[in-house]
């Protein structure tokens, strides 16, 4: 079997959610790597939509600094405004899926990228929303990517809801005024794959990577994790798939991205 790290597997599994021909919203960070891997492996004909107003149509050999990096210039099919992409294509429902980075995500799929500890006196202040709150509000199928492996990445409740998931679970998201056809679809993380219970909206373990131990996953999240009756077994990666994932991580590293485990 081809060797892999859970982080590499997370990137590959995310890439496999993208179908050839998709138009998708690509959030900052790991979603950018996942969409590039998909473009190279099985989905060359995708439209990657970014909050800066650009829509990427062809593979850019250089890793962009962010989705708004103008190094994407010759690979853009569309150079518009945030009003067209984040407020337009995404909000009006023209994109099949969105991907977002989830540095801290809770049992109802709420993401925190704003602060650790109380908002007014944080232990650590992070970047804040950017378009993250809007991705939570308007994505028709939101896929969350987490590179975290320990409890602090999966609290029962985040300190601050930057990206709204299912808020307090059940119908709380609908009551808060979000469209019924929006919301998180799954969390793809270094631990495995989580989906959301259709009634309670709580995240449960849906699938695992080869060799993963369910007990270890249970103790790595901050709530009493429920596990699917029939856990999906994610197949091991092909040699070519891992080669592309690693090449893309090399390209990212060459552009000063911090890569876990390197």
């Amino acid at each position: 079997m081809e060797k892999f790290t859970p982080f590499e597997m997370m990137i590959l599994t995310a890439a496999k959610q993208i179908k050839n021909g998709d138009a998708l919203f690509v959030g900052f960070h790991w979603p950018m790597v996942a969409s590039r891997v998909a473009r190279r492996l099985h989905a060359p004909d995708i439209y990657s939509v970014y909050e800066g107003g650009g829509v990427e149509r062809t593979y850019c050999p250089v890793m962009p600094n962010t989705g708004a990096d103008l190094i994407l210039g010759p690979h853009l099919a569309f150079a518009g405004e945030t009003y067209d992409t984040l407020c337009g294509f995404l909000a009006a429902g023209h994109l099949r899926l969105s991907m977002i980075d989830a540095p801290m995500v809770d049992r109802y799929g709420n993401i925190n990228s704003t602060c650790i500890g109380p908002y007014r006196q944080p232990k650590a202040r992070l970047a804040g929303s950017g378009g993250a709150a809007d991705l939570g509000a308007n994505s028709r199928k939101l896929i969350m990517l987490s590179d975290r492996t320990t409890k602090d990445g999966y609290p029962a409740r985040v300190d601050y809801v930057t990206t709204p998931g299912y808020l307090d679970g059940f119908d709380s998201r609908i009551k808060a005024g979000f469209r019924p056809d929006t919301g998180p679809e799954m969390i793809i993380s270094c631990l495995g794959l989580f989906k959301f219970d259709p009634v309670s909206k709580e995240a449960y373990l849906w699938g695992v990577y080869p060799g993963a131990e369910v007990e270890k996953i249970r103790t790595s999240v901050g709530w009493e994790l429920k596990v699917a009756d029939k856990l999906a077994a994610i197949p091991p990666p092909e040699t070519e798939e891992m080669k592309v994932v690693r090449e893309e991580l090399d390209i990212a590293e060459s552009r000063l991205w911090k890569i876990p485990g390197r």
Partner: protein, 300 residues
């Protein structure tokens, strides 16, 4: 009418202590030349309105120019890593506490749209249940209000106009009268450039009015909207300008390392802001080799 000024003149004449200042440009076309001149002139108690806080906001915070920040996020995209001056201000009140009002990028854009289009408010996307909705500072209850749609009865969030006293916009080219052109992906530039009554433009190139007339679809600000024009090549470095130069991620990384400590940040200011008289001095320091590496090529 010739509206050309030096950056020094424009900032001295148009930016007053205590004003709200919008610096346009998303993570692209960032008005670093404006920001550095504001720091050199030791402007105080400003409210910065900006879509992508970025290390531009970080520098203004660290230099003590800002009292308030209205922005969807403040960070260093290279790495990515923290905006350390921003963190010190929020976590420890260094060099002094700042008031921060956070929006989502789309709701920020809607508030800008209201300002740029003379509307009393704009509807925006759902925010209830988020920290942005819950935590309010500068704008208080007026940050986001909720009403029932008069058309469908559903809940709608509303934002009021975010109108700055002055807008600073870095563009690709402008003529001496202020007709200003930007092209490539625009982020929020068209909206933020037009959100305030008073607009100051800095441009990579000053061109003939005839050049503007040849490609009017590139114009984001017609001359009558512009009070002053500054010729400032590389005025957005280390950010990028479409068809002029690429983003300097190495500079952003070095800034990240330097600004980890107050001393490191002060050293950065001494070197790149106080230690140079103007943007020309900054460019000389950056060097022609570096400029050559960053200059736009036919292939990305």
């Amino acid at each position: 009418m010739n509206k050309l000024r030096t950056m020094k003149e424009a900032v001295a004449e148009f930016v007053q202590d205590g004003q709200s200042v919008l610096i346009s440009g998303f993570s692209i076309n960032q008005g670093y030349a404006f920001a550095h001149e504001i720091i050199r002139q030791k402007k105080k108690d400003l409210t910065l309105i900006r879509s992508s806080g970025d290390i531009l906001a970080d520098q203004l915070i660290g230099a003590g120019c800002l009292k308030r920040v209205i922005s969807p996020y403040v960070w260093n995209p290279t790495g990515p890593s923290s905006a350390y001056c921003f963190r010190r201000a929020i976590e420890k009140g260094i060099p002094h506490p700042i008031e921060l009002e956070e929006f989502s990028f789309a709701s920020f854009c809607m508030a800008i749209y209201a300002a740029a289009h003379g509307l009393p408010f704009m509807p925006t996307y759902p925010l209830e249940g988020t920290g942005i909705f819950q935590h309010r500072s500068i704008l208080g209850p007026d940050k986001v209000r909720v009403m029932e749609s008069p058309f469908s009865g559903e809940k709608v969030c509303l934002v009021k106009p975010l109108a700055p006293d002055i807008c600073l916009v870095h563009v690709q080219r402008a003529d001496p009268e202020g007709n200003a052109q930007v092209w490539g992906p625009l982020g929020d530039i068209r909206g933020t450039a037009n959100a305030g009554k008073r607009v100051i433009v800095s441009a990579e190139e000053i061109v003939d009015p005839a050049t503007i007339l040849k490609e009017p679809y590139k114009t984001v600000l017609p001359g009558f909207r512009v009070a002053a024009v500054v010729h400032e090549p590389w005025g957005a470095h280390p950010s990028d300008v479409f068809e002029y130069y690429y983003r300097d991620i190495w500079f952003q990384a070095d800034y990240g390392s330097a600004s980890r400590t107050v001393e490191g940040f002060q050293k950065f200011l001494e070197e790149w802001v106080y230690g140079v008289e103007n943007r020309a001095g900054y460019l000389k320091k950056l060097g022609t080799k570096k400029q050559g590496e960053l200059r736009w090529r036919k292939q990305g």
